[in-house]
């Protein structure tokens, strides 16, 4: 199992963007919200503009780890993550891929410009499309990695600030991934810059485990929370 350490630059048009995810970020409620042709156009145009200005780039680093009940130790000297939720997620995992990825500053620059030009509706769509595009970049990276390790399985992407994993570990993780080389950093308050970015790790396992929807996150009142499949309707039955 050899995972290359490398920089990837997928075309934004190749990312598996989920249009329904964009709509969800915008507060669209299926069956309730009434969209006109104009609104559909607006959504499509916002997505098109976001894809136009996005410059996706990712840096991936492979790293062996040792996991006990509440710590994950890497082979990089000094790089130890103390988090019970992370350790739980990586139970049985012996290696992780560190992921640092960004769309670059294009989407947020465009969003601000549209706001200045009083194109508020389009600005909100571009912003939502950018967020969905980052998620799509995450999925694209996952698919890419999965092709590199046939027969193996990946845990969901998990990063500092999730669960009880201290957000302060972000700096070390960015460094481990060499994120600066792709223009990705963080403020002193650990905001990623550019904003439309993601940083985290995925563990490699030989056994498949299932995680559904947002079940790893404890924020049950989040308006964007995705229910586990079918919400107890269809799946439970058939």
């Amino acid at each position: 199992m050899a995972i290359p350490l490398r920089v990837l630059r997928p075309a934004a048009t190749n990312l598996p963007l989920d249009r329904e995810e964009v709509l969800r970020y915008l507060g669209y409620r299926p069956g309730v919200t009434r969209l006109t042709e104009r609104d559909r156009w607006l959504v499509d145009e916002g997505i098109r503009l976001a894809i136009d200005v996005a410059a996706p780039v990712a840096r991936l680093g492979y790293c062996a780890v040792t996991v006990d009940r509440q710590t994950v130790s890497t082979r990089v000297p000094g790089l130890v993550w103390r988090s019970r939720t992370l350790a739980g997620l990586l139970r049985g995992v012996e290696a992780v891929t560190v992921v640092a990825a960004t769309l670059g500053p294009g989407v947020e620059d465009l969003t601000r410009r549209l706001f200045r030009e009083e194109q508020y509706a389009l600005a909100t769509v571009v912003d939502a499309a950018g967020t969905a595009l980052v998620q799509a970049l995450g999925r694209w990276i996952r698919d890419y990695l999965q092709r590199q390790g046939p027969g193996l399985h990946l845990t969901p992407l998990y990063g500092p600030g999730y669960g009880d994993w201290p957000v302060e570990d972000l700096a070390g993780l960015l460094e481990a991934a060499g994120a600066a080389a792709i223009g990705l950093g963080a403020t002193s308050a650990f905001c990623l810059t550019p904003l439309k970015s993601l940083v985290g790790i995925m563990g490699w396992t030989s056994t498949e485990r299932s995680w559904t929807g947002c079940s790893l996150c404890s924020r049950t009142d989040c308006p964007y929370r995705e229910e586990a499949h079918h919400g107890g309707k269809g799946r439970d039955r058939r």
Partner: protein, 887 residues
């Protein structure tokens, strides 16, 4: 035992949940259950046997998600055929002749257009793939289940009928606790549409417990002829803190509802989520020996039409049913241009106006030369169904155009029309049958339009026979004996009336008439049309294709319903027509409007070329608003429900929320005010400034324009956003529109010193260390809409600067935004800094990571979950500080 022969005559019992039973056998959560038909057939067979031994007489195959789309989530899309065929074999072998087998077909897991992204054709193809597998390995039934979207059900049912024509289909919709599906379909509408599309059994499953389905079954039983099935959950699902779903109803309680469901009309009962073999065992004993109701529902042979969310049955109180004729480009240049260019703005407006005026069904005709009429029809149907919720009448002379409309139409439409002209019936009737529509038959044969009532009746007999040849029952055929021009063929007017009576008496068919032809070429057409309509209604006319914006026509229909004892206690007549002063000429109407000071050139609303035939009086009155209580206008106060979003036509004439409010105050109509209101409501940034300019040119008070129309409009937008009817971009379009209007009015208000343009000052900032700002920017725009002076300090703003600026501008309040848990503590620090420096200023907080509890904990004045809530909060704080908020 031949269980199939018992269908509808005895109560049959289905099995219960499959998924949880497989999980008990070791299926991991999140794994694909369907593939166990290949990998663990023993486990699937075990589940079937458990249910059969518990008394189930029908078992469902383990194929709920075995369609290409859902299997693709597991990389198994190539196994559709293999899985479905294996599933039927497993169920058959497990049943050993003791139970029937139903091939389960669940939802696709993606919403079908127009609610979602999946096209109707894609949905159809997915279901068809599964149905084809069932054709090769036939179960006794195909059961389409757990689907909440009527359009998705249509796709599934059509696919089954096409690909597996010999297999009986059970079609089950899933209802919310509200008694409707989550896309708004009620039980009657579901029953009407599914039965018309050819379902052999209709019913409900999943989502709710049996207690909530008894009434739904009763309602369904009123409208269907076919047997009813019902498979409830074991009560309403409860989400546990650990994310698991549990079902509260035990086997005994669950089974106790069995006899009630049967009494309500069900003849097939079973269980869905949370039910076990023990639930089924108890259910079987509870219904053992019970007989289902044999007689069809009282409305099952009554013509019914439906949209997605509403049905119209041709019962006494609805007659004559009004079909709005105005979506027809013949002779209407602007409407034709709207359709040709594909904008459909006027089509949408016409739909809304007609429904607000009382139309119960809308005719849709897009016959513009040299366009792709089929594509235009599909789009028009979608646009109209997006705007209003009444059933449609698909009107075209082209079969391909009719098919495009029928395919796009969610619900049960009427087709306009077929005749005995060569090839017409053969082209139209198969489409009517396939899409489960009803149809208008014109009394025209190979020789043309007959001259006598006897000949019309003879053609009507042949029309009905022809329809029945195609499997369309006579109660779904509406005969139009054709009103000809009395000015040219005077004797014909009476022949048509005779034909209406005879057709009704001899054939038992419904009748229809396009009324306005009768008066062509004669003076006072609206008067003649109304008189002829009342004569036709008196001899039994069931449906009139008219212009609903013609007030006289609509009032005549209300009067007819009164005299025929359909409008009980004259309730509608007294409410709608009673308060009016009726007029008989255009001149009289115009004089009355002038007197009321409310006349606005109607050309803006009716500039669409010449007035429609039969629309004479409307041309004078149609552009006024409904609050003109003393005039012949008043279309908006019709008995029909206004659209849920209260959006109206730009020309006025509808009962929007704002208009209704003004009416209650008894003030005269104000079409320009309505247009300002609508422009903000619809986010029409192009129109708003010209409208404001028009108001200013008329010498209107800028403050009144703001307070009476613009602010109520943006408040209504806020309400719609709060209810989820608008999503964020729509809110922002309206906000941008409001801002443009406000910017134009502001200098005028200042010039006139008519009042303050700003109601208060708020300082906004994203806190120190945080660089997110879109949420704060959205809040800023909305606050400006409501008249706040917003001092936006930007993002990553130091705490001291927030204090300094708030002091400098004399802020009434400060709004802080933070997206991250790491930056949220800065909010507390700002509040502490204010306290330390003795600066008394409320602080409002918001942002993705903040919560109400956090706001309370740090001593913030309040928390806004979204931009609209932030505005509400800011207004509340301002009232606290300043008393009444007034400009």
């Amino acid at each position: 035992m031949n269980l199939m022969e018992l269908l509808g005559r005895e109560v049959l019992v289905f099995d219960g949940a499959m998924g949880t039973m497989l999980q008990a056998q070791g299926l991991p959560p999140g794994a694909c259950p369907d593939v166990w038909c290949l990998e663990r057939p023993d486990a699937v067979a075990w589940v079937h046997r458990q249910y059969i031994e518990a008394g189930a007489q029908i078992v469902e195959t383990n194929t709920f998600g075995a369609n290409p789309l859902r299997l693709s989530h597991y990389g198994l899309e190539g196994k559709v055929k293999e899985i479905n065929r294996a599933a039927v074999r497993i169920a058959r072998e497990a049943a050993e002749g003791r139970a029937l087998v139903a091939g389960s077909m669940g939802p696709l897991g993606a919403l079908v257009e127009p609610l979602g992204e999946l096209s109707f054709d894609e949905a159809y193809a997915c279901f068809r793939a599964q149905a084809e597998a069932f054709r090769e390995e036939p179960p006794d039934f195909i059961i389409i289940e757990t689907i909440a979207d009527l359009n998705e059900l249509r796709a599934a049912l059509l696919a089954c009928k096409d690909a597996a024509p010999g297999i009986k289909v059970i079609a089950q919709i899933t209802l919310d606790p509200s008694g409707r599906s989550f896309t708004g379909t009620d039980p009657e509408t579901a029953g009407l549409v599914l039965q018309s599309l050819g379902a052999d059994v209709v019913g409900f499953n999943c989502s709710v417990g049996p207690d909530l389905l008894v009434e739904a079954v009763e309602r369904l039983a009123r409208v269907v002829r076919v047997p009813i099935s019902v498979q409830p959950n074991a009560g309403l699902p409860l989400l546990q803190p650990d994310g698991r779903t549990t079902f509260p109803m035990g086997p005994e309680e669950f089974a106790s509802y069995g006899p009630r469901l049967v009494a309500a009309g069900a003849s097939l009962v079973g269980g869905c989520c949370g039910t076990t073999p023990e639930h089924i065992r108890r259910l079987r004993s509870a219904v053992d020996g019970l007989k289902p109701r044999q007689q069809p529902g009282p409305l099952s042979s009554t013509l019914g039409l439906a949209s997605r969310t509403r049905s119209v049955f041709f019962v006494e109180e609805n007659l004559p049913v009004v079909i709005g004729e105005r979506i027809n480009p013949t002779g209407r240049k602007l409407l034709a241009q709207d359709i040709r260019e594909g904008t459909f703005t006027r089509v949408r407006q016409e739909a809304k106006r007609q429904v607000a005026a009382g139309a119960q069904v809308l005719d849709v005709n897009v016959g513009v030369p040299l366009i792709d009429e089929a594509a235009a029809m599909a789009k028009a149907v979608r646009v109209v169904q997006d705007a209003v919720d009444v059933p449609l009448c698909i009107d075209s002379s082209g079969a391909s155009v009719l098919e495009a409309g029928l395919k796009a139409c969610v619900g049960r439409p009427l087709v306009n029309s077929f005749s005995l002209e060569e090839g017409r019936a053969e082209a139209v009737l198969p489409l009517v049958k396939r899409y489960g529509a009803a149809v208008i038959g014109l009394t025209i044969d190979e020789k043309g339009i007959p001259s006598s009532a006897e000949q019309r009746l003879a053609i009507a007999r042949r029309l009905v026979a022809k329809a029945e040849e195609y499997g369309i029952p006579r109660h779904d055929v509406v005969i139009d004996p054709l009103a000809l021009t009395a000015g040219a063929q005077q004797a014909q007017a009476r022949e048509t009336l005779k034909a209406i009576r005879w057709i009704r008496e001899e054939l038992g068919c419904r009748t229809s008439l396009g009324v306005s032809n009768i008066s062509f070429g004669l003076p006072h057409r609206p008067f003649l049309n109304a008189v002829y309509l009342s004569m036709a209604a008196a001899v039994g006319l069931d449906m009139a294709i008219v212009n609903p914006l013609d007030e006289r026509m609509m009032d005549t229909i209300r009067a007819v319903r009164l005299f025929l004892n359909r409008d009980r206690n004259a309730r509608v007549y007294m409410e709608v027509v009673g308060p009016k002063r009726l007029v008989h000429t255009q001149e009289e109407a115009v004089a009355q409007l002038r007197k009321a000071g409310a006349l606005v050139e109607s050309a803006s609303a009716e500039a669409d070329g010449k007035p429609q035939a039969g629309a004479g009086s409307t041309a004078a009155t149609g552009a006024t608003t409904p609050k003109e209580a003393g005039s012949a206008a008043g279309a908006g106060r019709a008995e029909a429900e206004a659209p849920a979003t209260a959006t109206g036509n730009q020309g006025g004439g509808e009962a929007s929320g704002q208009q209704g409010a003004a009416q209650a105050g008894g003030k005269p109509a104000d079409p320009l005010g309505s247009q300002l209101y609508q422009a903000v409501l619809e986010g029409d940034q192009e129109r708003i400034v010209p409208l404001v300019e028009l108001g200013l040119a008329e010498g209107r008070d800028p403050m009144a324009m703001l307070n009476e129309y613009l602010i109520p409009a943006i408040e209504e937008v806020g309400r719609l956003f709060g209810e989820g009817i608008y999503f964020l971009p729509q809110l922002m379009l309206s906000a941008g529109t409001m801002k443009k209007a406000f910017s134009r009015l502001k200098p005028e208000i200042q010039k006139a010193k008519a009042g303050q343009t700003e109601i208060g000052t708020i300082v906004l900032a994203t806190v120190q260390g945080d660089i997110h700002d879109i949420g704060k920017n959205i809040v800023a725009v909305l606050l400006e809409n409501y008249g706040f002076k917003v001092v936006d300090l930007g993002r990553d703003v130091k705490n001291e600067r927030v204090l300094e600026e708030a002091r400098r501008v004399g802020a009434d309040m400060v709004g802080l935004s933070a997206l991250m848990t790491t930056t949220m503590p800065q909010m507390k620090r700002v509040i502490e800094l204010f306290a330390k420096e003795g600066f008394d200023c409320p602080v409002l907080v918001g942002g993705a990571a903040t919560t109400r509890a956090f706001a309370e904990q740090i001593g913030a004045r309040g928390y806004g979950r979204d931009a609209q809530e932030a505005v509400t909060l800011a207004l509340e704080v301002l009232r606290e500080r300043k008393g009444v908020v007034k400009r």
